[in-house]
Amino acid sequence: MSVIEAQRVSLTFQTADGPVHALKDVDLTVGPGEFVSFIGPSGCGKTTFLRSIAALETPTAGTLLVNGIDPDAARRARAYGYVFQAPGLYPWRTISGNISLPLEIMGFSKSDRAERISRVLDLVELSGFGGRFPWQLSGGMQQRASIARALAFDADILLMDEPFGALDEIVRDRLNEALLTLWRKTGKTIGFVTHSIPEAVYLSTKIVVMSPRPGRITRVIDSPLPPDRPLDIRDTPEFIALAHEVREGLREGHGSD
């Protein structure tokens, strides 16, 4: 069964300047355990599509199924964890307290919460930082804490909207590596929005290239790279060829811009 199934999904915003076609006739199937990156220039609808999967936006046409049910029901069934561009940690809660937040909302018992918090802290390599407050952590550590929070309630899908966009390149590389390790360890399905070609190629099993006006998919590229990827895989000919293919896809979608 496919985890995400989109058929002719369209989303049109009505604005004062007339309708904006954020998504037009998007078809996509994502299988369990895949790492899918959405890449494209701003306005191509990659974030809108991710938000539609999360039921934070509602498509105006087409069918979109998450785990075989509609996105709203999937959200209530805790199908996904969502990681935003900013960590969004509450300054008045410790790191553990922040990870505990969705668990409290979902009604997990206290002992269950404690067990889950220590497990996900371990997973993002933040063991020992549970008692710290967000301002005591670096930006990269804060984002890892927010990933831990999204993982804490055992959703099968992890949706990430440019989670490392605000971080510098060195931290970003490390987090990309850590994310791959985490993905291999947990077997989650990951949807990842980015505007960085190397990031998309390095992480993904499937790269979805999108283009704007109207927002649509121009190319879906299945990665031939092995799941085990050291950072220096980026210097191999296969990687460079793949990056080139993505760049070609972006260019053809972009026309003369």
């Binding site: 996904y80 969502y82 561009q85 900013a86 300054p91 008045w92 909302i105 979902m106 301002w135």
Partner: protein, 301 residues
């Protein structure tokens, strides 16, 4: 935010800004003395003319600064009056400023509590209900455009006819003034969580109550404290205004009123200063709590 932990952050007046503060105070006192001499001089001149004597300048200065009922009492007279009122009487005496201040303070605190509660409740309603947003705010604004001096006697008279006297009518007038800053601050504060934070809550299928208690309310605290400082000072003003009509006999407002009946300007000024110190103390207390709470919550700016 990390600098919150640094010990170098100065909390109290340091040596380098004590000097300018002292200079300003000295200047105010000097201007005050000059004004007192000038404003009280006419009476002395009239007296001297009636007695047919010529006043020398040193005489004039001494006389104008020691009158019983000066137009403007000199600083030392006010200080003397204040000291007599605070320390020169048993605190249970009707002449004690401590006793009058306590009467005013108790009504102020009661009014502040009512006003803060009402302001927070209305703000919660406004943030959660569109119809309340559109219906309550205009009335709240209108309530503040009516002069409190016009409202106060009506409240006192209406409540007195219903058999309610004493603390409650004054507290209601205090609440009338103090709910508004709390309402405005809390509406703003409860709306501070941004779209991302609200989306995040939505992605966890959080209920409105959960969003309120876990996100909106904690986020609003900096705004709440800022408006509480305005509200508590306003509550004091409201209480004093509430003590003016209907021949109140207790409270700083009553002190002001009886002082003006009998031309006891020193008493008026002493009561005014007592009210000012009381307000400063209350605002300082709120600030202290604010600093503690916000530092603990990582919201200190």
């Amino acid at each position: 935010m990390t600098d919150a932990a640094l010990p170098s952050r100065r909390r109290w007046i340091g040596a380098e800004n004590a000097l300018p503060i002292l200079a300003v105070i000295l200047m105010i006192v000097a201007v005050w003395y000059l004004a007192a001499i000038r404003m009280n001089a006419r009476w002395e001149h009239d007296q001297a003319a009636r007695a047919g004597v010529e006043l020398t300048l040193p005489d004039l200065v001494t006389l104008t600064l020691t009158q019983d009922r000066p137009v403007l009492p000199a600083p030392h007279q006010v200080a003397q009056g204040l000291w007599d009122g605070l320390a020169g009487q048993a605190v249970t005496s009707r002449r004690s400023l401590v006793w009058h201040a306590w009467v005013t303070l108790s009504a102020t605190l009661a009014g502040f509590a009512i006003g803060t509660g009402a302001g927070i409740l209305l703000a919660v309603g406004i943030v959660h209900s569109r119809s309340m947003d559109q219906s309550v705010m205009p009335w709240a604004v209108a309530s503040q455009t009516v002069p409190i001096l016009a409202i106060a006697p009506m409240v006192i008279v209406v409540l007195a006819s219903a058999g309610i006297t004493g603390l409650l009518p004054k507290a209601i007038i205090a609440a009338w003034l103090s709910f508004f800053p709390v309402l405005v601050g809390m509406v703003k504060g409860l709306r501070t969580p941004d779209a991302m934070q609200l989306d995040q809550m939505r992605s966890w299928s959080a209920s409105r109550a959960q969003v309120f208690w876990r996100l909106r309310l904690p986020s609003s605290l900096p705004y709440l404290f800022a408006s509480l400082k305005v509200a508590i000072a306003a509550a004091l003003v409201g209480t004093i205004v509430g003590e003016l009509p209907a021949g109140a006999t207790a409270g700083l407002g009553a002190r002001l009123l009886s002082g003006s009946y009998y031309g006891q300007t020193v008493q008026i000024w002493a009561a005014l200063f007592a009210a000012a110190f009381l307000a400063a103390g209350l605002v300082a207390l709120v600030s202290l709590i604010e600093r503690r709470v916000l530092a603990r919550m990582g919201l200190a700016r």
